[in-house]
Subunit: 373 residues, 2 copies
């Protein structure tokens, strides 16, 4: 990996395990804790790239599985690589595609060499290997890429989770050895479900491979939030302090706060944009459902504490109308708002950490969102 | 009507009947010829208001029928009126709702007093009268509003078109007398199909009512383009020279150019945004269909002569991908592009008229769009 990646830990919260840092990448600096909006198929749904920047996003994510199927990683490469493709000149992260193979496709067979699956698009039979996951991600060209891992469901038996841990470790070594590009940071992924012993086994297997950062996978897959928090509390301290830690696919604002307080630096989730398309807003006063008829004549803003264009230029009444009649502008406005809200959470967390107020921030957040009108 | 409306004719094209003017309204000046993007239900589909402005739009349109059904004109009024509702502080025009009653709803009965119809939304039985059309448009609050007219299909028998002309004239007088607000310009609508005698009869009936502007309705309803052009050639000279002329619901770029050369000033059409959602682009080299597989690896811009963000920030290959996978960003980008293209046409027409190059512009346009790759 290139020396163009550097992770600086600027401050450790005295009230928690939270960390404030700066991650230098070839496409710019990411202040941590950071939240990455998800651009599954090369675009954050309904949002222009300049709006992501205005919302405060510094790094975004795209999904390898979707892009490898359509338009294909070689098309993305031929169109100038993922940064050109997404019209985003900041840092980008891609996952390995493994999670979607297990969750979206029709999984046919898995052994130590590969997974064989049917595409959820056209039913064609495809296979993914650790080598291939790296090859695809090198063609896509994100700044940060992921090892292929096996992610069992939350209710899988211990033996299956154990095997997934060991296979993930073996695959991680293959992924590391398959890397040809030197300008991408390859992260290992810790598995192990909610079993602290298996998490330790996973971390111990991966750390000798000396990845420039570590992802925590296998959470937010059906377990209770309390179990996720306990697992993070046990797992984060096992990881090298001087490297970034990325909790994959999480989550609600409170989940992000709880994870930051336990030492996680990076997050991604479709929740702000998916909920936006579903007329559900995150606000400083809690969840607001814009289809509710009570908003019909409401001339007030969605969130009086928000400076985004949806809150400063539109009333709740107009937003409600846009969703009621099914206009695209509804999801467009609300996606910008929800992403602005998520970025505000991590921005305020960064400040709180620097002032040793991590726990205080969590309590203030909980009080605010439960005080709603 | 308020003195805040003034129409200045700045130049008459020596090569055609085209006019370049400025229309002063309570919400700003509209340079003519002008094209108004259509925001049927209070939003131009997939486009932010600031993007309309950036595309060059000076005035936009909303549909009374749709807004009266949902959310209801009183809700729009209570939310601050149409300008607040659409987040657009420039001039706005509303139609009377009549065209949609005839084309979209289940028309039940019409007499000299009213039309009775079933809502296309919920099947409820509603009626529209000339008085009510004005009442609704006053509640909405656009700058320019329309008389209720009867618009028969292109293939209607002469007797039906004659009756529609006379009813439209009677309704126009009622509409004028029903107007309470003084800050809205009410236009009369000339009907008469493609029959020059009926067009003359319609104009002669309306002109004594001394409207501040005249719309030409009943075109682009199924007749051949040549018939539309001939009708415009016969109709426009019948209208007062010193007042703006608005051709309703037209049309393709060439239709707009042909109509401008015959003396029309204002246009609206859903075509740029509807075609955009259908992956069809208007470009300086003609129509481009972005679903076509030949664009897959095309790194070039959609239109090299266009400065819009879709053309300067995205390749044809990426645009094709966005439509291929059904991402919202595809229609969003292409709507901005097509609207930019339409605005470029009228902007260049305004310049050409000032330089007595109206006919020349038409020929150059035809040569360019048929030269395509």
């Amino acid at each position: 990996m290139s020396a163009s990646f550097q992770f600086h830990l600027d401050h450790l919260d005295a009230s928690s395990a939270a960390r404030a840092g700066r991650w230098v990448t070839p496409h710019g600096v990411v202040e941590t804790p950071a939240f990455m909006p998800v651009g599954t198929r090369g675009t954050v749904k309904g949002v222009w790239p300049h709006e992501l920047r205005d919302a405060g996003a510094q790094m975004i994510l795209a999904n390898t599985y979707h892009l490898a199927l359509r338009p294909g990683e070689e098309v993305v490469r031929d169109l100038g690589g993922l940064h050109r493709f997404m019209n985003w000149d900041g840092p980008i992260l891609t996952d390995s595609g493994g999670f979607q193979v297990f969750s979206l496709s029709d999984l046919r067979r898995m052994d130590d060499d590969k997974v064989v699956f049917r595409s959820h698009i056209d039913g064609s039979l495809l296979e993914l290997t650790p080598q291939r996951a790296i090859q695809i991600q090198e063609a896509l060209g994100a700044d940060c890429i992921m090892c292929l891992d096996e992610c069992p469901p939350a209710n899988a038996p211990r033996q299956q989770i154990l095997e997934a841990v060991d296979r993930t470790t073996r695959w991680a070594a293959i992924c590391r050895d398959s890397q040809l590009r030197t300008d991408q940071a390859l992260f290992g992924i810790v598995q192990g479900g909610i079993d602290p012993g298996l998490r330790a086994r996973s971390a111990e297997g991966l750390i000798p491979l000396d990845f420039p950062g570590y992802a925590i996978g296998g959470l937010s897959v059906g377990e209770a939030p309390a179990d996720m928090y306990k697992t993070l509390e046990a797992t984060a301290p096992l990881l090298p302090e001087e490297k970034p830690r990325y909790l994959m696919g999480v989550g609600r604002p409170i989940d992000i706060i709880e994870a930051v307080l336990r030492g996680v630096d990076l997050f991604d989730c479709v929740m702000p944009t998916r909920n936006a398309r579903n007329a559900t807003a995150f606000t400083s006063q809690g969840i607001v459902k814009l289809r509710n008829a009570k908003h019909i004549r409401d001339t007030g803003p969605l969130d009086p504490d928000c400076a985004c264009p949806a809150c400063t230029q539109y009333s709740r009444g107009v937003l409600r109308h846009l969703f009621h009649v099914g206009e695209m502008l509804g999801p467009m406005l609300l996606s910008v708002h929800n992403l602005t809200y998520y970025q505000k959470i991590v921005r305020e967390l960064r400040l709180a950490i620097r002032e040793n107020r991590g726990q205080e921030f969590r309590l203030a957040h909980l009080a605010a969102v439960s005080s709603g009108p």
